[in-house]
């Protein structure tokens, strides 16, 4: 696995919020097509790491490289275009837009027709618009959401809203997909289905996935590599077996 291409390389990443060191000297390497887990107790800084990777918070120190290119300092929309997409812990769909429009929106951020071709409905606009509709429907098929494509996002059941968030993120054409607790609020059956689909998505689209989860068991089942955070610092990093047997991890999760 280590011989394959590196997609994301994080070196000595840290951020301060006032006097609080929220994340401290984090190192992480994610390879092409890898499914990587980021776990840790509540408040360990997992979501903060996501916010730094996507440009929402500028890191105080360290570097983030996407396929060798340094991306810290870039704005969120630039980073999205370079190929990092994400979902949210609390669902943040565009609730008053239809399911299809949610996907078209992220697909559209990459289409290269502009204001004027859009206004004057030039042929290029039509061709691209059709291609985008087509792609949106194919993406929706991955999660069997095609039949719901004209519904408003807010009218979807909870589990489907979570899935739609993943589809919308795929519309960004990511090289790296960040999933922030995708199984939160799901029952065990739904969670199992979701995990299977995540694996399918990774293989079908050839992307790398970084997954935040609370549930150790779940992450252990599908991730190839795991980093454990505790109080903003890296506690351990390795394969699921290594993590499971790491005494530091066990004490952080279960207490001394």
């Amino acid at each position: 696995m280590d011989t394959s291409k590196v997609v994301l390389e994080v070196n000595d990443l840290g951020i301060n919020f006032g006097g609080l060191r929220a994340v401290d000297s984090l190192d992480m390497v994610i390879h092409e097509n890898e499914l990587y887990g980021l776990i840790g107790p509540n408040g360990a800084g997992k979501t903060t790491v996501f916010n730094m990777l996507t440009g929402v918070y500028p890191p105080t120190d360290g570097t983030i490289k996407l396929e060798g290119q340094v991306i810290n300092g870039k704005t969120p929309h630039e980073i999205a275009k370079l190929g990092i997409a994400r979902t949210f812990q609390n669902i943040r769909l565009f609730k008053n837009m239809t399911v299809k429009e949610n996907v078209l929106l992220s697909l559209g951020a990459h289409a290269d027709y502009n204001f004027f071709t859009g206004i004057f409905k030039l042929p290029k606009f039509h061709a691209q618009e059709l291609a985008m509709e087509d792609e949106a429907m194919r993406l929706l098929d991955v999660f069997e959401l095609r039949d719901d494509s004209e519904k408003l996002a807010k009218n979807l059941p909870y589990g489907k809203q979570r899935e739609l968030e993943i589809v919308r993120a795929l519309g960004v054409h990511p090289k790296l997909l960040l999933l922030d607790e995708p199984a939160a609020g799901m029952n065990p059956q739904e969670t199992e289905n979701l995990m299977r689909t995540i694996d399918v998505v990774r293989k079908q689209f050839g992307i790398s996935i970084l997954l935040i989860e609370h549930d150790m068991k779940l992450v252990m089942g599908i991730c190839e590599k795991i980093t454990v955070l505790n109080y903003g610092a890296m506690l351990a990093c390795g394969t699921p077996e290594e993590i499971q047997n790491n005494p530091h991890v066990i004490s952080a999760y279960l207490g001394e």
């Binding site: 996507t54 949210f88 565009f94 559209g108 951020a109 289409a111 206004i119 993120a169 960004v172």
Partner: protein, 294 residues
Amino acid sequence: MSGVVMFFMQIINGLNIGSIYALIALGYTMVYGIAKLINFAHGDIIMVGAYLSLVLLNTGMHWSLATILSILGCALLGFTMEKVAYKPLRKASRISLLITAIGMSYLLQNSFQIIFSANPKPYPAFIHLPALKIGSITISSNYYTTFIVSVFLMIVLNLYIKKTKMGKAMRSVAEDEGAARLMGINVDQTISLTFIIGTGLAAVAGILYSNCYTIISPTMGSLPGIKAFIAAVLGGIGSIPGAVLGGFILGMVETLVKAYISSQLADTIVFLILIVMLVFKPAGILGKNVKEKV
């Protein structure tokens, strides 16, 4: 004139002024929806549009070219206004933005007073089409042109926002700016575009308004601007169909009050509507009730 004919004439008057209010209210509501800013200088864009077209028409320019250039001029002003005055304050409190917007309004009014003097100027109306006769009702070309142009622009705007990718980007920024950014939407560009479209529409409103009233002054934008703002609140600020509905309701109420109750009371009643609306249904007719997050 019989009572029925008189009533229809008033309805037509109401549609005329209502469509102008609606055009202006669209700019208010779009900017509010996306930048969460009440742009009080928006009404003054009508005035800027009117003066620009006056100056261009006086050079002997054809009205079509003069109109296009005035719209572009106002759009450029809207774009600049956002970049210079509002963008640096985007992270500041809402009240700072509101005060800046009021300041911007006075800046525009006063600079036009310096350039063109405070005296009203005659406007060379250029809409000279045959009047429309339906039975004993005669509708002058200004009236039906204003109505047709406004409705046409509202339909185009609606399609633009519903169908195009920039329109979708606008709606996504209005709903959740942060999430839109993370999906690759350039929020700055989207806000600029909103200002450009809003001020462009206000310029059209200004030119149509001047064609009806044929007298323009540096403060001509303030009262229609405030009324359009009321229209936007009435319909539900942030809602595009709401702005159109609010504009027509307000125009109609104002005209009917002028005709049947008292022309002096017209503005009082319009402002009373705002107060009543804010007390009983602050979200407006088509607005959503926003639940306070706990």
